[in-house]
């Protein structure tokens, strides 16, 4: 029993159908728990007032924006090395979710920045690199939609994802060099001594868990949809070309 068994679309679909209800349920529970606890159960910050509560959306969304790209990178590598179609489709399915997370992080950040820094937008390294990440997501999705042949599209977008990752990291350090920041440093690290206070930390963790589960559920669901779309197209092509062998069960590899 190895992980690669789920590279088979049928097995993958069967697994995701079994797992998805749990994922959705847990995601909703964690999100509701984290957000309600965060909004009503924690005190206002003594300097930031109630705006501190944006943290429960802003931080998890930002985390998932980066991890979403990272997941696409891993999926692209798997596709390039082992040629599993499910992997390529998972990368494709993750991109719109990731770009939404990036947008949420940017918008909540602007809403938070207005009262705190007195500005909606500053050319701060973190903000700027998120904007660049957003552009990378857009380019990636645009390339997917521009190419007809699915395998060619998967190959090209995978290489773009690899190259883009290198340049995204490069840009991250380049903008650090280019401008000093307003944004605070990391304050959730496991090994750091000074972190966010515990009152905010625990609901935040719950909310992060909710976002992770939601991301996973969305990606699994969308990947399943992509597989089915592929399969219908294959079936229709077979019927279109007329003739005999098309009547049987849809072949798994044909996706």
């Amino acid at each position: 029993m190895s992980l690669w068994e789920y590279a088979n679309p049928v097995k993958f679909l069967r697994l995701s159908e079994r797992v998805l209800p749990w994922l959705w349920g847990l995601a909703v529970l964690c999100l509701a728990g984290g957000l309600i606890w965060g909004f009503f159960g924690t005190p206002d910050d003594y300097r930031q007032g109630s705006t501190v509560k944006i943290i429960y959306i802003h931080v998890p969304a930002a985390l998932m924006a980066i991890n979403g790209w990272f997941m696409m990178l891993v999926a692209s590598l798997v596709w390039l090395i082992r040629r599993h179609h499910v992997s390529a489709l998972a990368a494709k399915a993750a991109a719109p979710v990731g770009v939404t997370m990036t947008l949420i992080a940017l918008i909540t950040g602007a809403v938070w920045g207005q009262p705190m820094w007195g500005t909606w937008w500053a050319w701060d390294p973190r903000l700027t690199s998120f904007l660049i990440l957003f552009l990378f997501y857009l380019g990636y999705m645009a390339l997917w939609s521009a190419i007809e042949d699915p395998d060619t599209a998967a190959d090209l977008t995978s290489v773009l994802c690899l190259v883009g990752s290198v340049f995204a990291v490069l840009s991250r350090y380049a903008v650090n060099f280019w401008n000093q920041g307003l944004h605070q440093g990391a304050s959730l690290s496991l090994d750091a001594e000074k972190n966010v206070a515990d009152v905010f930390y625990h609901p935040l963790l719950l909310s992060i868990a909710g976002f992770v589960l939601l991301f996973l559920a969305l990606v699994l669901y969308r990947t399943g949809t992509e597989i089915r779309v592929r399969r219908t197209r294959a079936l229709r092509a077979r019927q279109g070309s007329g003739a005999g062998q098309g009547a049987g069960a849809p072949q798994e590899g044909s996706a």
Partner: protein
């Protein structure tokens, strides 16, 4: 390789090759800047380095689809792909030809246009050096973009959407180096970073370009 380089240069220089278009574009962008921000000399002097870098980058972008598109249409690329010369080398040569026909003229023209924008005298050396170090990276990254979109009809807009984010680090370090030397500061660090980026993409990018071009020729 030499034959390929000579062929590409010759094609670019002949009529219809689009040589000089990039240069004209560079000139026009620079001329338009004072119209949009106002003619105050001190303001122009402050933004000159950045504007020149941005204009050079856009001029470079303009000619990217010419690197491969014509060769793709008439089948030259298929010949190149089956030739004994590795595709990586062929693409490096094409990037070099692009740099010689686009990047070098931009580097040469930049000081002249810098006069129009009232760049401080101290900045000329830094500007030319930073452009000379940075434009090869622009050509090589652009070749990757061109290889990525070569099979797509009307891929020009998509090409810019894909390539411009990849240009960010080069632009940051290049413009920073030019700005620092214009203000009389020490520009060694950004200059070294810029050279590092150019060297890095020169070494690695042809592999990515060749990989996607093989997919597109399949």
């Amino acid at each position: 390789m030499k034959a390929l380089l000579v062929r590409d240069l010759r094609l670019a220089l002949r009529a219809g090759g689009g040589f000089g278009l990039g240069l004209a574009f560079f000139l026009i962008v620079v001329v338009l800047v004072p119209f949009s921000v106002g003619p105050q000399p001190e303001l122009l002097g402050r933004i000159a380095a950045g504007v020149l870098w941005l204009a050079a980058l856009l001029a470079c972008l303009l000619s990217l689809d010419r690197i491969l598109a014509l060769d793709f249409e008439d089948g030259t690329l298929d010949v190149l792909a089956t030739a004994p010369l590795p595709l990586e080398a062929a693409l490096s040569v094409k990037a070099l030809a692009h740099w010689l026909t686009t990047g070098v003229p931009l580097v040469v023209a930049a000081p002249v246009l810098a006069v129009l924008l009232n760049l401080p005298v101290a900045g000329y050396g830094g500007l030319v050096l930073s452009l000379a170090l940075g434009t090869p990276a622009l050509s090589v990254i652009g070749t990757f973009g061109a290889a990525l979109t070569v099979g797509i009809k009307r891929g020009g807009l998509l090409l810019s959407l894909l390539v411009l984010p990849l240009y960010v680090p080069t632009l940051i370090f290049g413009a920073e180096a030019a700005r620092r030397s214009a203000e009389g500061l020490d520009a060694t660090t950004p200059m070294l970073m810029l050279a590092g980026i150019s060297a890095g993409v020169l070494a690695l990018m042809p592999f990515a370009s060749a990989a996607v071009l093989r997919v597109n020729l399949r």
